[in-house]
Symmetry: C2
Subunit: 774 residues, 2 copies
Amino acid sequence: MGAEFQMNTQFSAGIQAMLPLLYAAWADRHLNLKEINAIRKRAASLPFLDETDKAVLLEWSDPARPPERELFQQWQTMGRNAAEQLPEDRAASLAELGVILGHAAEGNAEDRQQFWVDQLPVLTELELGLGGVEETTYRGLFPLYDQRKKLTESIEEATVDPAALQAVLDGKYAGTIARVKEILQRPSFERNMLPVKEDFRELVLAWCKELGEEGIGALAFDEEYGGEDDMGAYAAAFETLGYHDLSMTIKFGVQFGLWGGAVANLGTKRHHDKYLTATGKLDLPGCFAMTETGHGSNVRGLETTAVYDHDTKELIVHSPSVGAGKEYIGNAMHSKMAAVFCQLIVGGESKGVHAVVVPLRDAEHNTLPGIRVEDNGYKLGLNGVDNGRIWFTRVRVPVENLLDKFGGISAEGTYHSEIENPSRRFFTMLGTLVGGRVCVPRAGMSAAKSALAIAVRYGLRRRQFAADPLKAETIILDYPNQQRRLIPLVAKAYATQFGLDYLLERYVNRSEEDMREIEAMAAGLKSYATWFTTAAIQECREATGGKGYLRENRFADLKADSDIFTTFEGDNTVLMQLVAKSLLSDFKKSFKEDGNFAVLKYMGRRMTTIVTEQNPISIRQTDREHLTSRAFYQSAFEFRSRRLTSTLAQRLQAYIKGGMNSYEAGLRCQTHMIEAAEAYVEALVLEKSLERVDALGKNHPTYAVLKKCVQLYALHTIEGHRGWYLESDYIAGNKSKAIRKAVDVLCAELRPEAGALVNGFGIPDKLLGAPIAL
Amino acid sequence: MGAEFQMNTQFSAGIQAMLPLLYAAWADRHLNLKEINAIRKRAASLPFLDETDKAVLLEWSDPARPPERELFQQWQTMGRNAAEQLPEDRAASLAELGVILGHAAEGNAEDRQQFWVDQLPVLTELELGLGGVEETTYRGLFPLYDQRKKLTESIEEATVDPAALQAVLDGKYAGTIARVKEILQRPSFERNMLPVKEDFRELVLAWCKELGEEGIGALAFDEEYGGEDDMGAYAAAFETLGYHDLSMTIKFGVQFGLWGGAVANLGTKRHHDKYLTATGKLDLPGCFAMTETGHGSNVRGLETTAVYDHDTKELIVHSPSVGAGKEYIGNAMHSKMAAVFCQLIVGGESKGVHAVVVPLRDAEHNTLPGIRVEDNGYKLGLNGVDNGRIWFTRVRVPVENLLDKFGGISAEGTYHSEIENPSRRFFTMLGTLVGGRVCVPRAGMSAAKSALAIAVRYGLRRRQFAADPLKAETIILDYPNQQRRLIPLVAKAYATQFGLDYLLERYVNRSEEDMREIEAMAAGLKSYATWFTTAAIQECREATGGKGYLRENRFADLKADSDIFTTFEGDNTVLMQLVAKSLLSDFKKSFKEDGNFAVLKYMGRRMTTIVTEQNPISIRQTDREHLTSRAFYQSAFEFRSRRLTSTLAQRLQAYIKGGMNSYEAGLRCQTHMIEAAEAYVEALVLEKSLERVDALGKNHPTYAVLKKCVQLYALHTIEGHRGWYLESDYIAGNKSKAIRKAVDVLCAELRPEAGALVNGFGIPDKLLGAPIAL
């Protein structure tokens, strides 16, 4: 027998036509009588078998002699090869595969085509004669078809409808979100990660321009400037942009949220009239020049000065040193103008940080005299955003360019402000910019949700081939380890989103008194959500192995682009310390206001905690009903938050009593502060998630699944802190183990819902993009 | 007063000359009598002060009226600005700054230069008259100088010499390492991350070619092929390449380690003679075509076939389906040849997986008939490596191309092998390729060490400016939170390196009986070290904030390039399950061999553990001496490893007794398996680190610091697992808290050594590259 034949096998055409049937008959590793008889009886009368073939068939249908592993594998391989020649959207029959294989064994000779097509009926009869062919047999032969089917099935088998989940998440912003998704699926938004930064930046600029023309950028502006005065809709749009490309999202945020936001919130009517309409359409690209090289997290210490010259009624904007250059300014290369934050000096006296509009470039896009702009170069990600450094050398602008909502200069050349206290003035100004911290984590969540949708959908369609081809293949997400990796993250994504939604509502409906609380929440949730984003995308990349490393599958850009989210709009560790300081001041205030009574009340609360929660029975209670009860996990979250804050206060006090200054004491307690802040955010996220699910009502189609997600979020979080809970005698060792098992069980129970849960994020396939997820 | 003057201030020249002194006098926020007198007395006679100036000075030296915060800050800013005009390598005196400022206030008029220089002596006298100026005052004015000085000081203040640490790490391979570093610092190796993959690949190819010509690629080959027969030196060289560029490192590994290794280890003399010399010089680029799209982690199930045709004495290599294409093959676009792994079929019988050398391209670099190669496209990282997919359509090669060390075809056309058992034959072949798993984690560690060196050095030179300019500025690494982030990682880098060094020695001196153990160690250490790499680089990126996001500071590429290390050369989670299986078989074997006695012995050991370690006193013991004693932490590591393995065995047994098949039982215990494997690796790393430090002896200059590193590694690891230890009643809550404090203390104690520890990695500044670290 020569080796030169189609499909590279040593079989005759007749035998080859029979292989799919033989494969099916042997797939459970033993032949039953019915199968033997069907094959042997039919073999005698089949026109395409010669005597040698019949002898081989007799041998291969001998129940005492199952085929060798390698032989069996070859049958499978050949069947698959034949299956690849069929349309991908349907599974063929074994008979059809037989026809293809028989014809192929004859070199696909044209004159033999009809002959083989004619054999379909007898082969089909034989296939039916075999009786029930196991589904795994078909799966072995039709992997591609099966992957698609499996994913659809996985979503169908869920008890919850993705559309209902999406309606819950989108809420009242569903209209805006749908509108943005429609725009993003236009041909002009075809994703294209151009490797050379200048090209990529041009593309991103064009995308932002189109969004501006569609009115998306102006959503938060007043109606007279082309907007809808709807900050909530702006945030929802921003979040939706995160499903497309994060460079575009961030550049959009710089242009409309930061530059536009500075003009809108720090400027007065003359600035609005002059700049806002053009800004909203991106006819006037602008940037937000706050951060300086020497002052990352310390806005108050900015060194750039704006000195008022009363003779000419001008402000002289100047960078007094190299380190006073504006650093990492987004949109710096494309901008015509900048809102420059500087120390305002009037009559030789510094009035603290104010923002001044400074033109950067002329109509031909040449930088104006006194302006120096330097490209920040390539970055880890977001290379579609044109970040740069900017220096000013005694640049004169009219005094009208001062954004003077909170402090201005009169015609007589004197400074005036409604807020006399410079410190309060400064923080009021900064407070108007907290919108960035409300929005950024939402875009981060879009990146995390995209990654989770890709990894979970891949986990549902991809099967791991067992070393032994006769063994059933396992869907990746059926591996407990994969469930553990991904499903708690999906649950946490829902919970965190609920927390962020609450923040957004509070921010949209804010009053001045709320601001301190909102700022603390924004700082905490921004950090929590962006740390989650980084961790979730990394886990998804690793869970999808080498496939996840290919850029086409999107983790590369999701990871690289979102990595800076933990740093910009405030470094997370710095923000968390601000949250802790706010917690401490609340804590102290409640003591101060109520005097000793508060102390007693607080101690009383602790006593109650100890009696009801930390008694020997409760800390050992392990039944599932208890563990998944709100009474257990909500108390556990609150206990942790309360305890970490009060011990923090005690520690700080002890250090200070011991003669340490408060700065040094704060340093010593830095990790404790971050932990207390995290506990506060977690308690907030849990509380708001529970409220959100409660508000749906028990009859809502998503109630049961979302409740389970919140339970999983809660128990998985407690599990993560089990060292602390054990240390604090809040749970005993047996309870800690029981929590781990409860998490396992919840993961397994949510496994059939996983496909629906990630589809509930509502990311259109076109935006999801990754081939491994489609 | 007009506003148009140099340095943008409202001060007269005379006052401006005095500002540095005023700044210094007020730097501690109150004036003492000596300072007041010095300023007021001198002011009367200074030639550059007019009457107005003198009045201002009187006012500003009034102890009852300290300067406004903004004014004081302006003085500092101006002082710094002046300082920037001085050479960067020295701190000037306050008097010098006064001269610069005075002259600048007059617009730097040339005819006034001499006048101001002449004022130096009086100003100097005044400066001396102020008495001791605080160092922080100078720091406030000379940030750049101070950064440099600080870094140098930090390394000088260490008790350990970086060179001594480097000598320990480099060990007997110091010569090879130095040689490779010399090559990498040549101008031809200038780092250049070209954005377009084709350009970058060409550059990386040229680098590899130069390394080949220098004999680095051939180090592991026999001397007759240009090598030194030194696998250890090869591994050390590979690790050193990781300090330059990881694309180059991986491509180097593919060419010399995988392609060269396949020829050397699976081929016989005729292959060596034909290919090795050219391979070592990269005159013959080759690739290693094992993985298939459909078979990521299952080499045994490869579908590519090589059918022997006795008539022509040829092998016909064929990819029977799209999914049987070779996937992610490094060097695929540049290679002339490939070692193709396929099912060898002789006389119609499959003989299992073998490797065959198949030419891919002709001299003009056109692919040969039957060969199809597709570029894998852009990846998350390593875009300088040309990965591709390869399919074969009935490609005929002479039978001599079979790499036949473990199985060949005789002249008569029959298959023969010294290893009759096909399964043993397969694993023996695979075993020869374990070198990849020995080397890859070493390159990963180089990436982690680079990141740590950059972040720690940045943390030592960068000061965080306090919100209040009068407060002392803090070196970033003095923040406890930064110490917590970075120093345990530095300690772990040392410990992990010691573990990897042990593995390398065992691998270099291996005998056949050792192979199973070495394979388990390699699988475990590869996973442990590469997971560490990913986590460490991420932490370093976040610890350096926005600076760390700039590509010039290297985290971008370190992160992206090393991210796949957890997946290639075996997915970490799969490898860890292999490790666990090996642990289980050791466990079972010891039971089997010694019968009940072993069980008793094991139980006895457990009883002893319980008596000596888990008694109520021991689990609560918190004194530092105990916690940092080897007796405590080594026992804790061993206990965890032993306990996790034995409970794993018990759980599996219980499932199987309950009627579950072993596959399903394994699935259920997947996370437990990974945990047991990790505990085994950690115990190994600790044991080998302790041995390494012991071997140095107490008088070795690095002994004390390295011992402390190992202690920190140990306690930080236990702290990470504190939930488990608490659950297992191995430690009580108070002890867990004490461990946390001990970690804090060790971090603080190692803080002065941190600069020396990262310099001990021996990464030349030129290779480190990051501007923030230099």
